[in-house]
Subunit: 445 residues, 2 copies
């Protein structure tokens, strides 16, 4: 074997034990809330057929797919004619049939159509898994990162919109992150375009409004002007956007059916949920074109960071795989950003990063047998403990216990065993007690 200086592909990460523990804490907290509401976890393979993935994410997305080379003598089936062109795009089709998953949405659509007969509907699923994108790596942007999605497929009832809103509230409460959950409805945006007599411009209006956070209202107005909307139309649009509450919209939309429907849907949700964290935001647009009803966006209140969750209602997820039309609604947890928020706000308490309860150390090699018996007695009492097998002469036990967030250390010498009085030290408080083994076990249980 040749010696290689170890390194990672660019844009990828290893996770150290403490990071894994913190990330798992986030994942499991969200899992617990979702399962409490009847969501089930699914899994799909890391790679999909390229024909499943291609054409679903736009040209840019196709470019960012990681493609897997066909196995074996992959050139053997390539015709000389094609080969001679030396064209990457053309050769690609001949030598690659699989790609790494780019998100969890297209796999969900494929999964639902493929396993339709084995699922019960409304199908409430969640999926937490890495996805891969050949983006240029930057600070905070990776080629491998986790997504965490929860969706309900065949979700006609508005109760589903209520449940997902409540789940957003419950998850962030459980994580201890103070958030604002902005909610709007795509029907409001559609009504807005009708109100402004600009129905055909719905898509470009949505795109313009979606930039509000970045360019401000003046920037939005400028973009609307560039889209050749009249001053009068723009006035009507800003009138809708400045609505502070749902009721402000009622007089504007009293002759627009889709607007009345949007108001009704939003009111349905607000009637069932009383939470200071939930606010109506007429300017919330969400760029993605496939949303058709409720839309959400969640931001953390105490830290500068983009949205940490988002989602909405959509109508034709399964259509791309020839499935019958099923309504769907879903939310995404931006777990990578949630991790950064929790780091910045110092929300990972020492209780999360915990190791075993006790580290038992034999101060002398000939005491190993006796000390290991003590370990066994503790474990019998269901006390998680480790027997230190590192270098005691070099005093490595204390750094070990601290790095692994172990709560107590028991260093045992001949005296302790002879007298059956052991010193047990709380590593954080440095408090030390002298007790019999029975007392120690009783106290720790």
């Amino acid at each position: 074997m040749s010696k290689v200086k170890p390194s990672l592909p660019k844009g990828t990460r290893d996770f150290l034990p403490n990071e894994v523990m913190q990330r798992k804490y986030i994942f499991n907290t969200i899992r617990n809330v979702l399962e409490h509401y009847g969501f089930s976890e699914i899994e799909t393979p890391a790679f999909e057929r390229l024909e499943t993935l291609k054409g679903k994410y736009g040209e840019e997305g196709d470019r960012l797919l990681f493609k897997i080379l066909n196995n074996g003598d992959f050139l053997s089936k390539v015709s000389d004619e094609i080969y001679q062109e030396k064209n990457s795009n053309k050769l690609l089709k001949e030598i690659s049939e699989k790609g790494l998953r780019y998100d969890l949405t297209v796999p969900l659509a494929r999964y639902v159509v493929q396993h339709q007969g084995d699922l019960v509907f409304p199908f409430k699923r969640y999926h937490v898994a890495p996805v891969w994108r050949a983006d240029r790596p930057q600070r905070g942007r990776y080629q491998e990162f986790y997504q965490f999605d929860a969706d309900i497929i065949s979700a006609d009832s508005l109760i589903n919109d209520v449940e997902l809103t409540q789940i957003l509230i419950d998850v962030y409460k459980a994580l201890g992150i103070n958030v604002t959950i902005k909610i709007n409805n795509r029907k409001i945006l559609e009504a807005l375009s009708i109100y402004a007599d600009a129905k055909d411009n719905l898509s470009s209006i949505t795109i313009a409004i979606d930039k509000l956070d970045k360019v401000g209202m003046d920037g939005v107005i400028l973009e609307l002007k560039n889209n050749e909307l009249s001053d009068e139309q723009i006035t009507k649009i800003t009138q809708v956007l400045s609505a502070k509450s749902i009721t402000d919209l009622i007089p504007l939309f009293n002759e627009i059916e889709v607007g009345k429907k949007g108001i009704e849907e939003l009111q349905f949700i607000f009637n069932k949920i009383k939470s200071d964290n939930l606010i109506f935001d007429a300017t919330l647009a969400r760029g993605l074109s496939y949303y058709t009803g409720t839309i959400w966006e969640v931001t953390a209140n105490d830290v500068q960071m983009g949205s940490i969750s988002g989602g909405g209602r959509y109508d034709n997820l399964t259509e791309m795989f020839g499935g019958q039309n099923m309504s769907g609604i879903g939310i995404s947890f931006g777990v990578e950003r949630i991790y950064d928020v929790m780091q910045e706000l110092n929300l990972f308490s020492s209780k999360i990063n915990k190791g075993v309860k006790v580290l038992v150390v034999a101060r002398d090699e000939k005491l190993i047998d006796t000390c290991y018996d003590i370990v066994l007695k503790m474990r019998e009492a269901k006390i998680a403990c480790e027997f230190f097998t590192g270098n005691v002469k070099k005093q490595k036990q204390m750094p070990y216990a601290i790095a692994k967030n172990i709560e107590y250390i028991m260093e045992i010498g001949e005296d302790e065993i002879t007298n059956n009085i052991y010193r047990i030290k709380n590593i954080e408080s440095r408090e030390e007690q002298k007790l019999s083994l029975t007392e120690i076990i009783e106290n720790l249980k």
Copy 2:
């Protein structure tokens, strides 16, 4: 978007909700045991640099690596000279720099060397993750499958051998699988080769013995003969292999230092662990050449299946990445096979596949508001429940509850609400009770 009939790449699988629940039960049971012993979970990326992976798994392994195509115009940097050869192997080096991970061992070695300064030793880590191999797919063999490894790096003390043996016992006890844990020591095999005056043949003898399960003792003897060992040598080998207990070996190895060391190490373990599931097996060889001490293999007693766990002590894991030599010891849980064993023995009780506690059904659309309030009251009492949003007119609620392993169903009509007497039905026993809402909540809490 073009319509594509949905399907998966060959050799890969989707997992349905119940399968995920069962697989997670296995993973989490093993996790809990390991964390109780002070092991921490790590994560590494799905793909590694090809130079990290290549040359570590033999020629066959290199062939089975999934290679990822360089992104963008991958042919632009390929010289015409190389390109014109149209040779897959040569072109591969020019158009691919990354490969999907093939196991968790090489990533561990890279990880330990790369992060040495951030880890504390003995480093007890576990890792559960998919690996990918471009093997020909067959029944029970996939191109994507999970591995679950636990290792201790810098593990000179024999206490580590004891701990991992105990972990094997604890894990299978927790899973409810009756197993035999066979244990041997590579030093015994080395001593065997010295005893038979065939020290230079250690490797071929090990390989021959490793086939015992498949070819029987006659087959092993035949292979040893083919390796030009004399009858006398073979007699001595079979004499060692027929040892029923460690003490049988003492007279044979009384002048072979490495044999005495092997016996001592095995006795150290047996002195600390009393378990009917643990047996010494002089014929256990384990094919992999890098083991140097304790070796294990675990089989399920009540079902025909290959080994479901294995492992051993090794000496030079980190050497391949230029790391200082660190002793290591590790075990693997064959989680895919464990799943099959548990399926076959029906060990996934209905308690594992459980959904929420109650499914609340509004028999009429106009009762939705009132029924949803009941859901909220239950959740306030921490009772997990779902509000059924599917098709009540088509009576889809009962199939839904059964498929999702929900324990109780409450179908609510106008009468129930008026009288505050609700029918709650246990889905498995079909027993129905009529109670007030307060009583129901009290009973379920």
